[in-house]
């Protein structure tokens, strides 16, 4: 055993041992092979909980209805009923505590997302009435005349 050939071998074996011991302390206990096997299920199990605990920001119309039933009711009888409140009003998150006031997107671009005329066959877009933004009162917000909660022409301001 007293040979110069073996000396580097002991060093290598020692290094492997150090790595294995370091790994023992560094790698979390729940890291390993899980349900989907080695190829797809080699991971730290606690990460699933991490992702489940991400904060929900979009609360949905039912959340809005708790305090603003009149607004939700009024839009529910119009073609705009299919649009979620938060699409224009922004994510509620913990409103009314945080944020106390939501920022409403009143821009022309917001309306044009659907109402810019793109008569594409085989797309539902063709069935939505549109306006040419370059000729239809350019420069002013649509909500100056139109009420998004009552988009029919009777709702004109």
């Amino acid at each position: 055993m007293k040979s110069h050939v073996f000396r580097p071998l002991w060093i290598v074996i020692g290094l492997v041992g150090v790595v294995l011991i370091a790994r023992l302390f560094y790698v979390p206990k729940d890291f390993g092979v899980h349900e989907r096997g080695y190829m797809y299920g080699w991971y730290r199990k606690g990460n699933i909980k991490d992702w489940e605990n991400v904060k929900i920001k979009y609360q949905g119309s039912d959340y809005c209805k708790n305090c603003h039933p009149d607004k939700v009711e009024s839009i529910s009888v119009t073609p705009h009923a299919i649009i979620q409140c938060e699409n224009c009003h922004g994510p509620a998150i913990d409103h009314p505590s945080d944020p106390p006031k939501l920022t409403i997107d009143r821009s022309r671009e917001q309306c044009l997302r659907c109402h810019y005329p793109l008569p594409y066959p085989t797309s539902g877009r063709a069935n939505i009435r549109g306006v040419d933004p370059d000729t239809h009162n350019p420069g002013i917000e649509c909500v100056m005349c139109h009420n998004p909660h009552k988009p029919s022409l009777e709702g004109l301001k």
Binding site: I48, E52, R113, Y120, P121, S123, G124
Partner: protein
């Protein structure tokens, strides 16, 4: 008779040998490597996109970016909407400006550095919008290539990224045939759509499904035969993207055309 030198030598070797516990070489255990798949999840999340219903408003992209804290003005997004325009001369054009975060509010096709291409409505043969998102493949190539076990498939089929474990090598971004992965500019780790894992595990729909006014996006559980999405997938004509790769994608499309890849 053992002398002091040899005693110390053997003692050091013995202690080193003993401290190398069997737990440390656990990863070499073949039984665990081929772990049994006995823990069957009752849920397998699948997605269904109806391209006839999509109008390209981009509300889904806006909601996704805010819900999942993807930097709003950075040109990265977990989901996006593509516009396809096929003209009567047989040419096809596609664009997705800013991933359609602001929808499609012009008929000009965004060609990137080459500017915009104006296509007259009367020259259009067919045109439509296609929302894209992670396919949560049954055989995810992005997971296979991860050298550190940072990305993986959860028991319910969703492919997740462990941000604390990702080293940012980018192999998964190269491996995904659908281009759904990118680097998160803030966390500097691989990022992808995870079907809003924090929402679906609490009984909610994903942010994009909730934001879509036209019902073009649907999420369901393919292990539940009474699930409306499962019913459509099993009884109607649906298609997946790039089936030739063998990844078994789990986002199904109604009305997918041959130009869509």
């Amino acid at each position: 008779m053992i002398d002091r030198r040899n005693f110390l030598k053997y003692a050091a070797k013995g202690i080193a040998g003993m401290s190398l516990s069997f737990a440390a070489i656990d990863m070499l255990n073949p039984k665990k490597l081929f772990a049994n798949k006995s823990e069957k999840s009752p849920v397998r999340w699948v997605f269904l996109v109806d391209t006839y219903k999509c109008v390209g408003c981009g509300m889904c992209v806006k909601a996704c970016k805010k819900e999942n804290e993807i930097p709003y003005d950075a040109n990265v997004t977990r989901t996006w909407v593509e516009r396809y325009v096929i003209t009567k001369d047989g040419k096809f054009h596609a664009d997705s400006p800013k991933g359609a975060r602001d929808g499609f509010i012009t008929n000009k096709i965004d060609l990137g550095l080459e500017g915009y291409k104006d296509i007259k409505n009367e020259n259009i043969r067919k045109a439509f919008f296609v929302p894209k998102l992670c396919n949560q493949c049954e055989n995810p190539p992005c997971v296979q290539v991860c050298p550190v076990g940072a990305t993986y498939q959860a028991p319910d089929g969703v492919v997740l990224v462990d941000r604390t474990w990702c080293i940012g090598c980018g192999y998964c971004i190269m491996a995904c045939p659908y281009g759904v992965r990118f680097f998160h500019p803030k966390y500097r780790t691989a990022e992808k759509c995870n079907f809003c894992y924090h929402r679906i595990t609490k009984g909610l729909k994903t942010a994009c499904v909730d934001a879509c006014p036209f019902g073009a996006r649907m999420i369901g559980n393919s292990k539940d035969p009474s699930d409306p999405v499962t019913k459509i997938i099993t009884t109607e004509r649906v298609e997946v993207l790039k089936s030739e790769y063998g990844t078994k994608p789990q986002v199904y499309y109604i009305g997918k055309d041959e130009e869509v890849r």
